[in-house]
Symmetry: D2
Subunit: 386 residues, 4 copies
């Protein structure tokens, strides 16, 4: 990975203050490749915490805002105002700031899922499409070099026609009613008012679904799903079983769970074509397993022999030295920066940038709703309208 | 594993002659623990091959029969006639010999699935139930010590109430139309006349289903399935996707495939309860992974620390020295021998013997038919009547 | 693996009675491929136990002997006397019966190490060389198909000139003074009177050494070793560190330990040439890892794609179904049978039989003594005279 | 990992310009936790390249220096001059800049090994000890959370008295004479004039040695080594075999190699005490394997259950999301920053900071020289004077 110097993009952050989990991850990812500089924030829905969080991060006091509306207003009036905003709030506070900043002429980088509800998603989608600003959705797993390698091999036809996609994302952190303790992350993720009508299906099911789509390059036509809430009293699903039909006739299974003891973040994708299969596991992300028919299995390592150009673009350290979650996340940011710079320069956005965007976001919401509908209808096959 | 000497049980074999795959496996498994002695056989449906195969195995020439009917007749007339018969023919030649030998007063050890059709299965089931002879079905994977360990931990309540069962059995050997070459195994397994109406679902789907049942100790109430034939011209399914509802409310997924490049015999079962999860993989069968909530994952080894009494009963070599497929298969035979000896002694069959039997066989056939029906009905949930 | 019928070789066993560990392993291995039939035994040094053990195994009462001398005498006088003897006693009772049975015209299959002392080994070596009978030493790990595959690839020159051999065999069962409890296996293995002057180096160091020699096909010229007894009061070494110089200039390291917590039987060999490297691990024996320079690592499975003819000779079940310790052990027996039959037929022993023999046994004893000498001499390099 | 805001430390870099490998790694590591800001550099020994490299990094033109002497001089005269310098040049250009900047009152962060020669190391050691500035050596592997976890468990006595340490660092990149191509990294590493008298032993042997020391907390008294140059014409060793005696009587083996096909950066450490053993592998750094005697092996994950406080201090993302090489490297920088700030505040450096320093550097050089001496003396045991 090489680069010549470019001025970092000034950005602000919505959410991500003290005690937030994902804010510091976004900040490290944003600065890793030197493309972004944090200058402003509305870092908490509580004004005191927002101010304190801004101080923690060394922001100028006047750029630590109490609300995103205030921030959108103030920053758009500054000559050194933010060029991009990062939204890392609970789901129900995605659409509001995203629309506000797009309207203020600020590029948007938003955490997933796109919104809490499909209605919000459709509105945001319309506005983003009509906007001349860049919209990036941080389905960060697609930034892993070996995920890029997998996609590249699939799209090149190396596997032949794809027949099967098996994707899963098991976790165990909600196996007990953690939301009844004072656990901020569990609290909002199991609350329909903040998470939306999907629980597990929205929080990690969308990641699994997006990864299956990204690696296969195939659209999903129909879904048959069974959603379950295993923990008594939990109003949202904590386990998703689904079968998928892809546009080319391929079949798939998707499993996402928050109640599977032993799994921390067990995202795994396996894809099989007529001639070969691939396997990738997030916990061991520097490996890609390739099995060609009539050949022994091969372990391709990130940047090692057999690892190709699409992986190499975003590799920062030689093979055998593991990269991880931050580096994959940083790649989404680096592609976001490239898109933003192209946009700001009036150029078209390069085809080889693969960061997820507004279409992925809307599709993810349709996935959630299709799963919910199928599950209500005894796992009947439901169209995933595109 | 300890034992005192008992005279080996005389047995004959149906099928399993020259070029057969599974016959030699049965023979090694049968003799490993010293409980069975091969004395007769109708080893091939072709008379010449049957005779030559008998000579290969050192049988007395007169006990190498051309047909199973002839063998049943002749052996039942000898004072040193066979006490048990092992049936390892294609599916459509299970019911015939099984019924013939039960009627001749011979214990039956039969390969899976029970029969080619549900009708045959029901008839055989009736006859076996009415018979005073032992009927064993070689779902051999249940003989692995760490499968026994898993079952034991589940049934003891260590995992709490079971919530999820994820079972899969991918293979790749039929990814191409191998049946169009001169490949005996592929030929009959893809032929409805010999395999029955199920392809992959019958051949390995039943193994996966039985393992899920065995480890969980839970009945399956309903199945939603999608069966596919990926290889053009193949009349039977080569991929099975299914969702399961267990009697206690647990949910499951089952995947069996013959077209997944990179998988030889990738049988794996994962089971998750309220308090813990377990994982076992056939290719690495000496390990059982245990994950208790709030504890790190533990790798229990066959016979090692943490490996309990139910595994220990059938362990033949110290921990760290791998056992494999034959040893698991032999355990089914050793339990079959114990059942046969108890039966012949007029004793009731000990409760702690876990070899699969006629009920498992009938249930496996119902599983096949439920999958076929669900798949025909757009993956509608179908009852698995017990 | 295919075979036509041959009459089983009648054999007797020295040691291996009740409570013995290794006797039942030898018996299962001997019968697995149908080449041996147990008909006699001097199964314990205690007469009562010897008789009871013979009954356990269903031997004719008169062929359950109290001593090996009695057995050699009696069996050599019978027309149906044993053709081979299996010696699985503690080390100090190897040379005596081996010599007695060779002198009685009986083929010998002996557990490792060859003897307790180098003096005994040299005497036995002379007698065995002068004898026209077959002598087999059960360094059983060389029977694993993927060890055969590794050796075959090395000898074919695929790796180029060999540069490095790293072999290790850690265990943990003697990390505590188990010999002070009533533990039969620990008792004699830590007793110089029965084990000989080497402890760990004799018991498992010789296995590691033999495996390095077998896979590399290279002689070892010199050894620099450091032997340690970590457990207080233990008179024999329980840890071996050694550096090796091979005849071609290759270098190696050998580690054997009985005090390394977490290792059951962690035998592993890695070998590196100019162009490629290989890795094999006994606990996961169905895999061979191949790494060619400038290529990704490849996982060759037993009998799978890339697994060659030398592995295939002794494979009994398709790829993906694991074989283990018994099957590898059985291969040594099957090769022993082939050698015995060739010998008895007056033919020369086929070149492609690879079972270890008397030369390996003597070399193993020289290895032990060289390690002891080097360790006494501050790890000075000591010649391993051949 | 939490932190409140502190002004980033201004630093300059020596080496690390265009085409350099390690420079960008240092820069990412330095900024990851927000503690350092790059403001100056003498980024190449070629003036043109130095200037261009400075521009690539967005430095002020006047702060892109042609030589480190010039930089030391100029920066010490600025009120906004650098507070720390990072030296990431070939070994023979460590001592010079390190001394120059210490003398200029600048904290030093230096790549390993400390210097090219022991003489330089001793001089630098004297100066660093006499200086009131902080000196940090980037043995970066000690920054991995699970290495910290391992050390913490060892030092707490959980393993009991340590008996064995097995450490290895195999690579394969120099298996062919890469230095004869135009390969910058291979060129200087195989050149005694730039690398010093040690090749592999200096480049990665020191990492392995330091890791063994760090995890065990034990000093090494004596070394017996065998160094080899396998590639014809290579003037420096490319393989190191060594046996170690630790101060408490523990024994160890160390293997470092640049000619082991299949290994990218295969650093691994295993440590065994009376009561338990631990294993850690750099390629899969988020796992620590713990084996207590009489217990099954446990896989502790970074930040997961069982992962303790010493690991937690520097964890940036939840368990199951992999961290890697950069994050470990960043931890060294974060500890360096804490030490620098304490130093600049006139406080004593906190005991709980574990970044390697000048003593580790001198010891590493003594390790190199002891290996060289032992190897010259037929692997005689050589004291590692401390």
């Amino acid at each position: 990975m090489t680069s010549s110097f470019a001025r970092p993009i000034r950005y602000g952050m919505i959410g991500g203050g003290r005690n937030a989990l994902i804010g510091s991850i976004h900040r490290i990812a944003a600065k890793m490749d030197g493309n972004f500089e944090l200058v402003a924030g509305a870092l908490s829905s509580e004004a005191e915490r927002a101010k304190a969080s801004a101080a923690d991060l060394g922001l100028s006091p006047e750029r630590g805002y109490a609300t995103y509306e205030e921030m959108a207003n103030a920053e758009s009036g500054r000559t050194d105002g933010i060029e991009a905003v990062v939204i890392c709030t609970p789901n129900h506070v995605h659409a509001g700031p995203a629309i506000a900043f797009l309207n203020a002429g600020v590029h948007v980088i938003c955490d997933k899922p796109l919104t809490a509800t499909l209605e919000e998603a459709e509105e945001l989608h319309s506005i983003a499409k009509a906007s001349d600003k860049v919209f990036v959705l941080t389905h960060n797993y697609t930034g892993y070099p070996m995920v890029r390698e997998a996609r590249s091999r699939v799209l090149s036809g190396e596997l032949g026609e794809i027949r099967l996609v098996q994707v899963e994302y098991p976790q165990d952190w909600l196996a007990k009613p953690l939301e009844n303790t004072d656990h901020k992350q569990a609290d909002w993720r199991t609350d329909p008012a903040r998470s939306g009508p999907g629980g597990c299906v929205a929080d990690i099911g969308t990641h699994a679904f997006h990864l299956a789509r990204f690696v296969s390059g195939l659209g999903v036509d129909r879904i048959s799903a069974e959603l379950t809430s295993f923990v008594p009293g939990r109003p949202l699903d904590d386990n998703v079983h689904a079968m998928l039909k892809f546009e080319n006739g391929a079949r798939g299974m998707l499993w996402a769970s928050q109640v599977a003891p032993g799994h921390e973040n067990g995202l795994r994708v396996r894809i099989y074509g007529e001639r070969a299969g691939l396997e990738w596991v997030q916990a061991d992300p520097n490996y890609l397993w390739l099995a060609e028919l009539d050949q022994p299995r091969v372990q391709i390592t990130r940047g090692g022999h057999g690892s190709g150009a699409d992986a190499a673009r975003y590799i920062r350290v030689p093979a055998g030295h593991p990269e991880g979650y931050f580096e994959a996340f940083a790649t989404i940011y680096t592609e976001a920066a490239a898109a933003i710079r192209a946009c700001d320069a009036g150029e078209s956005i390069p085809d080889d940038l693969l960061q997820p965007g507004i279409e992925d976001g809307l599709e993810g919401m349709r996935f959630i709703y299709a799963c919910l509908e199928s599950s209500r209808k005894s796992s009947a096959w439901v169209d995933l309208e595109n």
